[in-house]
Each structure stands twice: as C-alpha cells, then as structure tokens.
Symmetry: C2
C-alpha cells in the first residue's frame, strides 16, 4: 500500500504552471521570500504530515474520543501532532512577521494544509479551527482581547472553536437563542446550548477559546440581533495567565460516521451563573464578522474534501496497478496471464473520474486561494476588488463541488478495490466515511444554491458573474487556437452558453417569485460548478498542450498526456448532461415545488 499523501508533481503543476504563484514574490509583503522558501514550506508540511499525522489516522478512527464525565480523552498521538504543527509555525504562518508569523501567502499555506488533510483530517481539524478562530480575534477583537488571547492561539497553547449551531436552529442562524446578558464590568454572561461544536472539548491545549454567536438581551430578532463573543473555557487574566474554569460545560460527545478524532460536542454555556464572554467588535454585527471568515472556512472544508478525494484516487490507482484479475474482453485463453485491473477499460474510466474530481477540486481550491490572496495583496485596487467579487461569487461552488464530487471520488475508490474497499483492513472505507462530512458542514448544497441564486449572482450589480464569464471566454479563446484543446473548448463553450441562458432565465424567475424561482437552486449550483471546473480543466489542458509542444518527454510527457486525457474525459462525460439540465431549469420545472407533504 502506498504512503503517498499527494502527488508532488501535481502540486507544483498547479502552483507554478496553472497558477502563477511566483508572481507573488514581486509583492512587497513577500519580498523577503523566494521560491525555495515556498517549496521548503511545502516540504515541511509534507514531512510533519507524514511523521506526526498519517501514522495515527487509522488508530484514532478505531479509538475515538471518550468522555469520562470529567475529561475528554484522545489518543496521545493527537497531542504530538498538534505540537509539531504549532512548533513548525503553521498556526501563525499567514500572520505578519511583526506578529510572530511567517508572512507566507495563502495559496502556499492551503497547499501545505492539503498534506495535513490528506494525512489525517480529523486530527488537523483542531489546528484548522484554531486558525479560523484566531483570524476572528485578530480581525475584530479589541486590542486588549487580542493581547490576552492571540499570542497563545498563534503558538499553540490555546486552541479555538466556532460555536454557531444550536439544537433548535441548524442552518438558520437567525433563529439562534443563546442569550448574552450584559454584566456591570463590561463583559457578558452567556446562557444557551450549542451543538455539533467541533473541537469543543479536549485536553490538547491549556485553554479553548470559543467564538460564540449569541443574542444580547433585547437585541432585534433574526440575523440583525446576533453578536460575536469570545468565551474561554478557562478564564484568562490581563497578563494572559489562565485561572478558574468558566461556566462552559461539556454536555456530551456526539459519535460520528467519520472524522472521529475531532470531538463533536454539545456545549452548555451558563449552567450556573453564566459563561463569561467578551463582545468581539460591535453589538449585533456578529453575523457579518462570521461571514467575513466564512470564505476562508469554506475553502478550507473544500480543500479537505479534495485531499480525501486525492487520497482515494492515489490508493485506488496503486491497487489497480498491483492487483491482477481477469483478462481483457476477447482474450479467451484461460492459461494466459491475468492482467492488472488498471488494464480494464471500466477501471480506467473510474480512475479518470476520480482524477478529474480530485485534481479539478484541488485546482478549484487553490484558484480560490489565489483569488483570496489577490483580494488582499494585489498591487492594483481594481485587481483586488475584482478578485474579491469573483471569489464571493464562486464560493458556493468552491465549497460544494469538491464536497459533492470528493465523496463520489471516495466512493469510486471503495468500488475499485471491491471487497477490499469495503473492509477496514484497507484505508478506502475510512476516506469514504471521513469525506461524507464535507457536504454537510459549512453549508449544504441546498444552502449554497440559495446563496448563489438568491444573492451572489446579483451582488454589486452582478460584477462577479460578469467577471467570471469574461474569464471563461478568455480561456476559450486561448484554448480554441490550440490544436489539442480546440475540441475541448468547443464543448465547454456550449456549456457556458447554457449556463448564461439559464442564469438569465432563473434571475427572471426569482424576481417574479422568490419561492418558485429558487426551488431548483441546487441543480443550478451543480451545473455552475461543472462549468467552473470544466474551465479549470481547459486551462490545465492548455498548459499541458503547450508543454508537450515545447518538447516535454518521458515521465513529463506522460504527466501532460494524462492532463489532456482527463480534460477530454471531463468535457465528454462530465459536461454531457448540461443541456438537458439547463432545459429543465429554464423551463421552471415545478416537480419539487408542486409535491405535497401528504403525497409522500
């Protein structure tokens, strides 16, 4: 069995051939770095992931966290991995040097994170959540809160969580009921229950910093009355020293299908006198702060889905290359040697499908990270604003495509191994279980479909959508002039036409009636996602074609030929249903809308 986490050649292709990551070195923020620094960062991530994360991935799954009524216990390898991650500086890697960070660009850190996700997504979730919580503190908390909490979150003494969901509310944040009562000392006392809080309790760190959404007593109903609070598990004095327990209690652990080493908790805030919490930023603006962080979290979840898809692909390919079974159709001699299953056309079809999902998803996440980077550090204000518009538009697909198709890639991995894919003696079934979480957290497809069609498309006068169409047209034009890519561009061009027609139609439907107009938002999201990933595959094909024309040979030619063939597969098979899907959407198909509860 292979122990590869990702394909290094693939990663360098994506970072330096598909994306122009080296151009970042010209920006002032990265002027001190060079390409070897980027590569060394990736190498460090790979080494730590292989040494501290991968070895206990299966063990942690088989020995999930337990709660004895007092403490949550994780297998000890988890703590060693947490420490190694922190000591290498990854918790603070994107922060400025003056704040103790490594001042590295987003896209390099995302690529690094892909190694950790591939190695052990459940263990690295503690780090992932802490980075997100620290970003909230850094961006919106007062200086004094920052000074008390941020240094410990950046060096690994404190971890963090995002505490949004409540039992009675699920995805509809506007209905959350956790109450924050103002206290005379300027802090608040929180009362309420939060559910599905990942990393909500454990003994990995001295403290856990919960970033909690709650409603200040008397605040308006709905999303406009939500505020953000920092609620530590253990109280911290002005010097940053920890003291007494806060009134935050673990009500219980939830037992997941996968991702098992990440505790999923029910937390009670304020069983007694109230959990002491500190307002972050202004009152009633909590949701807008969260939204600013959500793009990050959503790219992060999608990256995890992509990494698990990639693991499923790597392991299935490895098996298919080693496992002899059967003969090719037409070969009737029972004494002839068995062929390796990679020789069977149907297995190659499944591997191609995995490859297009895994590499397409990874490309989408890294492209989104490059937009995030540009939105923050591109030299021209117009470029920053364009990147920001485009990213905002694309986030629903960036989250949803890798999550949906990543699980399919993991499912195919099980299928390629057959009986061996179904047993815990092989790693495929765990990837399948772990990956199944990703279409659920950080917004389901249903939520993102509504966000895309009900909001994002028309945001700022539809600027993001116009930019996207321009970018794809540009790609089509370039690819249309390339012999290897013209036929691919032709197919994608038809799909883009359909997307544009159906978008116009749907926006009209939504304007006429939001309820019916949005009823098919999820299939629309899926259609958009496939066009988007099709565009990335076209770009990858063009890079590959040019490299082949420039004389790539040997294993390099193999690599580029694989890219071209996968792009052909994508345009032929993955875009095939789009015409029919677009017709249903444009005709305002009412089957779901007209279905009645009592008819089920």
């Amino acid at each position: 069995m292979t122990d590869a986490l990702l394909n290094e050649r693939e990663l360098s292709f994506q970072l330096y051939e598909l994306l122009d990551t080296e151009v970042l070195l010209q920006r002032p923020r990265y002027a001190e770095h060079d390409r070897p620094v980027f590569d060394a960062t990736l190498q460090t991530a790979r080494t730590i992931a292989a040494e501290y994360f991968a070895p206990h991935n299966q063990k942690a799954d088989a020995h999930e966290p337990t709660f004895d009524g007092e403490k949550v216990k994780l297998i000890p390898e988890t703590k060693a991995a947490w420490d190694a991650f922190a000591e290498a500086g990854f918790l603070a890697a994107h922060h400025n040097a003056e704040d103790g960070g490594l001042q590295l660009p987003e896209v390099i850190l995302r690529a690094s994170m892909a190694y950790f996700n591939a190695a052990n997504i459940a263990t690295v979730a503690y780090s992932f959540l802490t980075i997100g919580a620290a970003n909230l503190v850094k961006s919106f908390a007062s200086d004094s809160l920052r000074q008390r909490f941020l240094p410990a979150m950046l060096d690994g003494r404190f971890s963090g969580t995002m505490a949004l969901t409540e039992p009675g509310q699920g995805s509809a944040l506007g209905d959350l009921r956790t109450l924050a009562r103002p206290h005379e000392d300027g802090s608040y006392r929180l009362f309420g229950q939060k559910m599905f809080i990942s990393g909500g309790d454990h003994e990995l760190t001295d403290n856990i910093v919960h970033m909690v959404l709650a409603r200040i007593e008397g605040a308006p109903a709905g999303t406009r009355g939500i505020s953000l609070f920092l609620v530590p598990k253990i109280l911290v004095d002005d010097d940053g020293q920890i003291g007494a327990r806060n009134d935050v209690a673990l009500a219980g652990l939830l037992h997941k299908l996968g991702y098992r080493n990440t505790t999923s908790t029910v937390l009670n805030f304020g069983e007694d006198t109230g959990a002491i919490g500190y307002l972050v930023g202004e009152a009633n603006k909590g949701l807008s702060y969260m939204f600013q962080m959500m793009n990050e979290a959503r790219i992060g979840v999608a990256l995890g889905a992509s990494a698990l898809a990639y693991q499923s692909f790597i392991h299935a390919l490895d098996y298919a290359r080693e496992r002899p079974q059967g003969r090719l159709p037409g070969s009737k001699d029972p004494l002839s040697a068995q062929v390796r299953i990679v020789e069977h056309a149907d297995v190659r079809r499944m591997l191609l499908q995995q490859k297009t999902y895994a590499e397409g998803s990874l490309a989408l996440c890294l492209y989104a990270s490059s937009l995030y980077e540009d939105a923050h550090t591109a030299p021209e204000p117009q470029a920053r604003s364009d990147a920001s518009e485009l990213l905002d538009l694309l986030i629903p697909m960036v989250k949803s495509y890798p999550s949906k198709y990543g699980v399919i890639a993991s499912d195919i991995g099980v299928q390629i191994l057959g009986g061996s894919g179904y047993i815990r003696e092989y790693p495929l079934e765990q990837f399948y279980r772990d990956n199944r979480l990703n279409p659920i957290h950080e917004g389901t497809e249903g939520i993102h479909g509504l966000d895309l069609l009900g909001r994002k498309l028309q945001q700022n006068g539809g600027a993001g959508y116009r930019l996207f169409c321009q970018q794809v047209r540009l790609g089509l034009e370039q690819a249309g002039r390339d012999d290897n890519c013209a036929a691919l561009a032709y197919l994608l061009s038809g799909a883009l036409d359909r997307l544009q027609e159906v978008t116009e139609s749907l926006l009209g439907q939504v304007a006429a009636d939001a309820h019916s107009g949005l009823s098919n938002a999820t299939p629309y999201l899926d259609l958009f996602g496939r066009v988007l990933v099709g565009w990335l595959w076209l770009r990858m094909a063009l890079v590959a074609s040019r490299a082949l024309s420039a004389g790539a040979n040997g294993s390099e030619a193999d690599f580029y030929n694989g890219k071209l063939q996968a792009a052909r597969y994508f345009m032929d098979w993955e875009l095939a249903g789009i015409d029919a899907q677009a017709r249903l959407l444009a005709s305002a198909n009412r089957t779901s809308l007209d279905m009645q509860d009592q008819w089920f």
Copy 2:
C-alpha cells in the same frame, strides 16, 4: 423516530395493483392458498422482523462478531432472530408442501424478505445465504446428499454459505485454484483458501454447509474446469447426525464498513488432510449450477438494497416532517414561525429522489420475482419461456440499479438529516454503510455491464431484448391514451428510442472489436436501467391515474397523487441525461480506452 420498516400501502400497491399477484391463486401449485394467506405471510414477516430483527440492528453494528481463536461470537439476539425466522417456516417457505415447505410463491416471499432486510440486513443474511445454499442442494445434489443435509437446512439446524471467491481471483471465477482431490470412497479432499465468505463461521447452528467451487485435480483450466462441492463444517453421517470437525478452519474475520453482524471470513480448506467434500451434480459443471442460482441471489441483493433505500427514505421523511428549520424564500419576518423542512423545495426534491429510487427499486425486484415465478409456474410453456428470457436479460439491471441508486437514496437520507445524519445517534449513517456493500457483492456494475452487452443482449437470438422492447412499447401505448400519463409516456418513449439506437450501435461495435466495443458497457448498463425503471414508474403512474379517475379520495388520493408526482420527477429529472449519454455511447467514445496507465 419512526419504527416503520416498509410502507404497507406501498407493498399492497405493488403486489396487487401494479403486479397481478392474485392471478397466481389460479395456478395448481397455489390452489390451496388464498389472498388472506398471502397477507398473513407478510404480516408474520413484519411481526418477526419488528420483534426479533429490528431491535438489535444498531447494537449488532456496535458490537460486531469477534473471534477468540476458537469460536466466533455474535450478540445473542442474533440466534433468537435466526430461530424465529426458521420456526415461522421462512427457510422452507418456497419449497413444496411434500418437502416440508409452505409452497408459497416467490413474489410473496421476496416481499416478506423485504421486511427482514429493512429491519436488520446483517442478521437476516444468514437466512438468505442458507436459503440459497439449500436451493443448490435441492436442485443439483444426489438423493443421498439431499437426504443427509437438506432437512436440517430447511428447519434451521444447519446454515449454509456460498464459497466462491479466493484471494487471488476476485470476480474472475475462471482463475480459482482450490483443489479437489478424488478420494477412494467417492468423496473429495479439498485444499485452498476462500475469502469474503459471508456467514463462513459462527455458532448459530449445529453445522455450516459450505457450497464450494473448486477444481478437480487435472480438470481443464478456466471456467470449464470448475466443480461444485458440498463441504460441511462438521461431518454428518448417513442418518444426518453430526460427528467430527471437518478440515475447514477459520483463518480470520474481515472487518467491514457495514453489514457488520454478518461474519465475513477467510476460510482455509485442507490445512491438514484435506476438507472432505462431496461433488454436487456432475464434475466441471459447477459454474453452470451456480449461474442457475445467481438470478435468485442477485434479486436478493437488489431487494436488500431497495429495503435499505426505503428505510433511508422513511426515516428522512419522518425527520423532515418533524424538524422545524428556517422559513420559505421571500418570508422575511424573523418572528414568524419556522417551517418544517419538508416545506423547503430542495428537501422535497431530495425526498422525491429517494422515493423514486426506493419505490422504483422495490418495484423492479418484485417484478423480477414475478418473472421468476412465471418462468417456473406460468400455465403456458410460451409464457414460461418468455418470462425466463426476459428475466435473464434484465438481471444485470435488476442487480445494479437498486444497488447503485439505493446507496444514493441512503446518501440523501444522511444529507436530509444534516449533522444528525452524520452521527450514530441516528440510524441513517448505518443504512448508508450497510447499503454500500450492495454495489460490490453478487457482481459489480462493471461485471454486469459486460454481461449485458457482451452476452445477455444476444442470448437466444436477442429474444429477451425483443420482448423487453415490446413490453415497454405496450406500456407506452396504454399510458399515451391516459390524460395524466401521456406527457410521461412521451418522455419515456424518447428514452426508449435512444436505448434502441444505442443498443444497435453498440452491438455493432462489439462485433467489430470486443475490447473497444465493451469499453463503455457500464454507462450503457446505467442507461438501460433508467429506461427500465422509467417503464415501471410509467406503469405505476397509469395505475394511479386510473384509481384517481375511479374516484379515490382522502389518503388514497394522496397516495396516488404521490405516485404521479414521483413519476413526473423521474421522467423529467432522472431521464434527462439520456440523450447526451446515448450520443457518447453511439459515437464509440474512446476516452477510457485510450487512457494509459502511465498517464495517471
């Protein structure tokens, strides 16, 4: 949480309105029965499933079988369930009264089995396997073997297995290497290892009867040299009394993703002097005997997949009807009440999808069972032979469609519950894990695609395929004259045209070159399956439409309206991609075939 196993109204619709099960009462074999007997049988199945199988489904999953080096231990509820099943006569229910059976028709027993599958698929697998093994003994074993083994297999003292797969061979049975050496007493001594043998060891019964495929010393290579042996775990004398252990040893248990209460074993035959085995039927004809049983086993696996899909649907629907969350688009008042999630169009879309997969799959399995019944008991020889041809043609889709789409229905069940779908505190994640086995055992899609396109379509001059097309055309004609169904018939008619065109094209491709012609057999199988299930949905819609015209009202009208709406969903959304898929197949798309191993 609901404790419903299936929907009784649905089952009676399928048995008595869609299929004409009562017509069986006119056949001599069933002349002693009446409709109340059929209904009482179903009721008994439902009661035993609810009392003895369902209650330990989750417990058995959490406490899977263990092997201490001597014995395999299952939780004790498993034995109680086995006994209740046997005592009710279900092991022998399809056998003739003179052999101690209940002489019940196949389709009633399959419907009964659906209850057990829904309640606890892993526990009932022991019964399912025993029924299959007993059928082999009954059909092909000598009188003396039958007398020694069959009574105990029919009353539950002995259980049975099918031991086909070996570590080095997987789906390619022609390469199996287990050796059978003739012994002077007329029996054989077997040497070899079998893997993934379900129910291969346990303490539920006094004995386990393994039906083993092996190669007699000197037999031809490939599939023509395979013989079938009866190899008991414990030797049995001429009077049927058990004695010493045979040389069959459990090498180990495999640890599955789901279906955990069914032991999956590696068995060593002949570690010492050889496992004593008895030839069943003639030498070198083992595979043909197995094939005669495979139609049964494949319908059985598909039925299990359908039942799990149905469970996922029932539980998701129950949750969607109870869980309040969010508001409908356009409803901006945060103080208004939350709606139950079944009101959200996207949730209704998911439920409709589940309904079409679960009920369509169940209909397909029961239809296939009715063909099996007709092939054996229809009064006219022509009707028997037609049913047999048709069933043989359809088996690849009967096995594959419910297995593939059943897992999707279970996946959607997880998604509808969201975070709750992902945790073991709810049953959805277990259905998802259990159901994932079904696309693997009894032949993957890849295997069935090759079987369909490479063999079944042209079997007996294409008789089965011609019959199928005639049947569908007949259904289209009838539905085309019905106001509610004409539009549905129009859509299915287009899909049938595509299927016929693409079939003709692919048969030409296969004739020209088997390797390339069969390279897209799996997508073809999928296309065929969707047309087939579309036809069943059209038939269900027509029954519903006529019932509504005849004045059905109240909950009956709701039921029939649901059928019509689900049929609309199926024709609109599930058949939508067929044109594009057919174009790819007819154009002999070569992307999978041309992909090279070294390009991955």
